[in-house]
Symmetry: C2
Subunit: 384 residues, 2 copies
Amino acid sequence: MYNFEYQNPVKIIFGKGEIAKTGMNIPEGSKILLTYGGGSIFKNGVYDQVKASVKDFEVIEFGGIEPNPHYETLMKAVELVKKEQITFLLSVGGGSVLDGTKFIAAAALFTQGDPWLILSKQAKVESALPIGAVLTLPATGSEMNGNSVVTRVETTEKLSFASLLVMPHFSILDPEVIFSLPEKQVANGIVDAFVHVIEQYLTFPVNSPIQDRFAESILKTLVEEGPKVLANRTDYDAAANLMWSATMALNGLIGVGVPQDWATHMIGHELTAYHGIDHARTLAIVLPGIMHIERVQKKDKIMQLGKEVWGISVGTDDERIDQTIGKMIEFFESVGIPTKLPDYGVSTEFIDTVCKRFQQRGFKIGEKANIGPAEIRMILEDRL
Amino acid sequence: MYNFEYQNPVKIIFGKGEIAKTGMNIPEGSKILLTYGGGSIFKNGVYDQVKASVKDFEVIEFGGIEPNPHYETLMKAVELVKKEQITFLLSVGGGSVLDGTKFIAAAALFTQGDPWLILSKQAKVESALPIGAVLTLPATGSEMNGNSVVTRVETTEKLSFASLLVMPHFSILDPEVIFSLPEKQVANGIVDAFVHVIEQYLTFPVNSPIQDRFAESILKTLVEEGPKVLANRTDYDAAANLMWSATMALNGLIGVGVPQDWATHMIGHELTAYHGIDHARTLAIVLPGIMHIERVQKKDKIMQLGKEVWGISVGTDDERIDQTIGKMIEFFESVGIPTKLPDYGVSTEFIDTVCKRFQQRGFKIGEKANIGPAEIRMILEDRL
């Protein structure tokens, strides 16, 4: 196990009916900006529950934060925050609304020039407005971490930043929000959480049984509970288990003291930036390619994954690796997520574009920083 | 899964050499009270590392905090804190030193009368001095929670309190501290952590696969890594895995949204209070008795424990339960911890005393609050 530091002060408020606790967790006298996305919160009752809970506060609303939130949109919210002297941000939505709200929180108090520097140059976040979150979608884990991913439409860039200061002060997770989610969003959430775990697990062994077993615990639970949610959206227990899995997948805990990969995300982001493919779907496309191409480097962990999650324990190493990749693809496709580039109408020209972009960036990715343009080409060609 | 709230802001600093980071995690200008126990920190080098790291601070020392820290001793520290206007408490020791330091932190700022009320009447802790911890012993999990257990010698009472306010601001966990621990302390730590998990796991199923699997992850790791540490005290990886297991066993995470028991602890505390038996050893005595007597109520979870941790999956339910209890006893005894009352020279008269005490208290214990004096008698008689 490597040395590590870990701190996660987010207060989790979990369970049915808990949205009613929103107001009591916000400092008295706060002037709130309530941020949201495309408006599903008006249909599923979440907006009404939140509004009832914060009725003693002054609340201004900012809607229309997109999936893969746009820098351009968020900067409008930053203007509003300054103009209205907002003191608390309340994110009511999924991971995109929350990621966007984290950027608003940091950008509103940024004093070192253009807030774009937070994303483009990883400028240090020195203060941020406090955030509370009411989650409407289990997927990204943003509710219990300090990470944020933002897209700049103008330059087709999807970049991220991280800071303890933008961790939500509280996050309310009511699994009943899942009852009204469309199938596609549930499926995306399952795969998103699954791949978050994989990025922190599927590298090389460093003798860290707690981290490994926790990761496998989440993967097994996603494989078991995800399909139950899809089959019966109002199965509360399955919804609760999916929601808690997604949070645990990316609150930092399973990643302490172990190598991490994140190449699937780095390559996937380009598929979203250029083709607008849902984030989770880009991961389902890229990950099998990475496992094929990195099968030597990742051998021990791929076999461990196969054994622990799908009981694959016979055959040669190569056979077991192939079976494991096959089982994973089968799982993604069973929840309705295709895993090949042509399934999304993406052509070979895109591969050239991506490789060129990584060439320009000049750094390699993956847990051993050995995946460059040539390897990315092989990974993407594997997915044709 | 039940509704729950969870928040744990403790900053964990984990790994070899990390004790050097003590000073940089304490607010500048703090006046520190360094608390410690019997003096092992002078022999294992921890004291020197800590002192080097806090050389820019004014530091006053308070040693001699006992295992099962005494209220009487801690109140002397409270006096010293007030007299010297201490602003930061630095606990350098195991769980007892840290539990004691938590009480000092709360008692020093207590304004509602005699600080004993915090323990005897669960008086609300409204403020506390900040605490930092350098852990010298993996066992109690106190380094990442707000719990404290204190013994009042005068009245033979062992009582506890809990507050977010006494959670350490940081805890430094350097697994190398294990290298010089006596066998008995390592064994106690393994069993203490094991039973902490059991108290949050071995109840009845509420469809909480993440919590169950995390609990089983810790149990399996303790069963595997504990004996490695005992066999080779300088096996860094094994020491690190044991240390992280003990922290994860009682930082609250595996206990969210599930029923909890704690009857083993409640009965075990009496064995410490009356006979001075090490805390962990009292748990190893009591737990098998609880499992025997509660075999119907706990049936599903005992069988799950047997299957997941020891691979027990054949035989009638009763046979599997007996095998599981047997395997657990075997594990405790394999690390050198006897599990019967006569092994510690405890007679049947003690059973009468304990039953009388629980009779006087008038409340029942366990996850269903159905263990009263009659059941406690059966549990303890099972351990003769």
